[in-house]
């Protein structure tokens, strides 16, 4: 579906007609990312990160497939085969660094994408399912990234697998059997490594499937925009191609420049040096930290230090899962009818505090579990939940939003009717 003024697909050649009657794939592409998909004309650069996330998914799949041609998932050979890739395979160092840093940049892009959605109220009606499918992608990404990190079978790989699967043993009665079932043993071993490799290969394709569903769901109402005001007339939109293909295209190139610069010049800056030590089941590294994109959640996990009815460990695990599951309810926790934070003075302030809170949790997550970090992570965790469960419902009631513009085009052109016609048309 699209707006009434969306340009219909017209095949230009005989062959185009012939194909269109049999497999209207070009028609679908034209309507999805071509001239037949009208997009609000006022999108800012925060809207570029969805396409970019798709680009990084493709980069990860392509580099991952070629790495799998050389990687060996035996516990005796995994570490050596990773080093073999780095040292002997043609451009293997490039492929592995591109894949490892690609994961980090994928998360950078997705985090910007999520915070864009949080600030501009992209999760509100009618786009709740787009938001939820996005959270599903995020959860799948976390699982994929964790399992991928285990594959080189370095010290951090091994002990990361030990700690993360240890979460599940926190659940009473079923916990320990569940953990043993997940690992296929009592500690990470051959069975765990082989299944992680299998699932690490599978999940990106599951992610790709959910991304297709998400894009489908997004294209029903179309993209939101910085004003949060619905599209009303043709003046409010531009065709996706060439306007947004050009904008996304140049931005993808610019962002990839940063990514390749890190890949080439700082390839290990985001990794942990202990993972260049082969896994040793008998010696734990001094302190185990996950990759940076998990730090805030790691802080929430470790914030619970007191047994209260349930053991502290279980509270930590429940809170960590809850911190993400909570986001599924966000469309109903934030009751404000105004989508964009741009017109919500109170929300804007608390949004900034929320960002600071995430950064605080991130710092606590990388620091050792000692004072003052434990106390700060407790404060940060408390505030995280308060933000969604108390502050957001309250400010949607108390706040007086700024007046919204009549339309997207009015907001862009300050009501100057003559200028508001799409480019290249009326000169009136």
């Amino acid at each position: 579906m699209s707006f009434a003024w969306a340009k219909p697909y017209e095949p230009k050649t005989q062959l185009g007609h012939w194909i269109d009657q049999r497999l209207p794939l070009p028609r679908m592409i034209y309507g999805a990312v071509g001239g037949g998909y009208p997009v609000p004309r006022n999108l800012n650069y925060a809207w570029n990160f969805g396409v970019l996330a798709g680009v990084f998914l493709m980069i990860q799949i392509v580099t991952g497939i070629v790495l799998a041609m050389w990687y060996n998932s035996g516990i005796e050979t995994a570490f050596a085969s990773t080093e073999h890739i780095m040292r002997d395979v043609n451009a293997g160092w490039f492929l592995r660094y591109a894949h490892a840093n690609g994961a980090s940049f994928f998360f950078i892009v997705v985090y910007i994408h999520i915070f864009r959605g949080l600030f501009y109220g992209s999760y509100k009606a009618p786009r709740e399912l787009v938001w939820m499918l996005g959270l599903v992608v995020y959860l799948l990404m976390m699982a994929t990234a964790f399992m991928g990190y285990v594959l080189p079978w370095g010290q951090m790989s091994y002990w990361g697998a030990q700690v993360i699967t240890g979460f599940f043993s926190a659940f009473p009665v079923v916990g320990e059997p569940l953990r043993v079932w997940l690992l296929g043993g009592y500690a990470p071993d051959q069975a765990a490594l082989t299944r992680f490799f299998s699932l690490h290969y599978l999940m990106p394709f599951v992610i790709a499937g959910v991304v297709i569903l998400k894009t489908w769901a997004l294209h029903i109402p179309g993209s939101s925009n910085p004003t949060g005001v619905d599209v009303k007339t043709e003046k409010d939109t531009l065709p996706f191609h060439p306007f947004y293909t050009a904008k996304d295209g140049w931005f993808v190139l610019a962002f990839l420049m940063v990514y390749v610069a890190v890949t080439f010049f700082l390839p290990n800056a985001l990794g942990h040096p202990d993972n260049y030590i082969e896994a040793n089941p008998l010696a734990t590294p001094a302190h185990i930290v996950p990759e940076w994109y998990f730090w805030p959640f790691y802080a929430i996990l470790r914030a619970f230090t007191v047994d209260f009815i349930l053991p502290a460990k279980l509270w930590g695990v429940l809170a960590m899962f809850a911190s993400i599951l909570l986001l599924f309810f966000l469309p109903w926790l934030d009751r404000s009818p105004v989508r964009s934070g741009h017109y919500r003075p109170l929300f804007k302030v608390f949004f900034m505090i929320f960002i600071a809170d995430i950064i605080l949790l991130g710092i606590c997550g990388v620091m050792p579990a000692e004072q003052p970090w434990v106390f700060l992570s407790q404060i940060g965790t408390l505030y995280y939940f308060a933000h969604f469960l108390i502050i957001l419902p309250l400010i949607s009631k108390l706040e007086k939003p700024l007046p919204l513009p009549d339309s997207i085009s009015k907001s862009v052109l300050h009501g100057e009717e003559a200028e508001s016609a799409p480019y290249g048309l009326a000169k009136a």
Partner: protein
């Protein structure tokens, strides 16, 4: 991708006039952009394709040294080079004479023994142990194995017979057993590859 566009009458640069040959600035930009993109895609595609070639550790095994001191006259050994068998045979004078007595012009793959061995070392026949028909390993290295009708090697898969110079004489194989690149480091050592 570049799209073909209709000239816009309002755009001066699109008007082919006053000595303009009808090439628009947009055409140049399209070609330049696509060329730039093709180069970029190629630069990324190359390592992705090239990674499938043999890695450095395989290439490092691309040459082996073989000690010949324990190969008595009339004996042969199998060495392994690039994961393929290499036959190294110390020919007797009788076998050399037998090979030289053959009229080269009547052979399927016209090579003399001298062309297939090193000068002054005609008794050392070094060939790949890979039948040129479909890649089986011929017999005749180990004493007592079938040497074929020409007293050289015999491929049991489809009945190719090779003579004492490793040349195809009968059967389906199209060419003689391949002589790999090798050199004598001294009188009793060769390096293959």
């Amino acid at each position: 991708m570049a799209t073909v566009e209709q000239p816009d009458p309002l755009l001066k640069e699109d008007n082919a006039g006053d000595g303009n040959d009808g090439v628009r600035r947009r055409d140049f930009l399209d070609i330049a952009a696509v060329s730039f993109g093709v180069v970029g895609v190629g630069a990324v595609a190359f390592p992705l394709v090239n990674q499938m070639a043999p890695p450095a550790d395989v290439m490092a095994l691309a040459s082996i040294e073989v000690d010949l001191t324990n190969i008595a006259e009339g004996q042969a050994i199998k060495a392994s080079w690039r994961k393929q068998p290499v036959f190294i045979r110390n020919l007797t004078q009788a076998e050399i004479d037998e090979a030289n007595a053959v009229d080269v012009s009547g052979l399927r793959d016209k090579e003399s023994l001298a062309e297939r061995t090193k000068e002054g070392k005609a008794n050392w026949l070094v060939t790949m142990g890979v039948c040129t028909h479909l890649g089986c390993v011929p017999t005749g290295v180990v004493t007592g194995e079938n040497k074929g009708d020409y007293n050289g090697y015999f491929c049991p898969c489809h009945g190719s017979h090779y003579d004492t110079a490793g040349r195809i004489r009968k059967g389906p194989a199209p060419t003689n057993l391949v002589v790999p690149e090798f050199e004598f480091l001294d009188d009793s050592t060769i390096r293959i590859g």
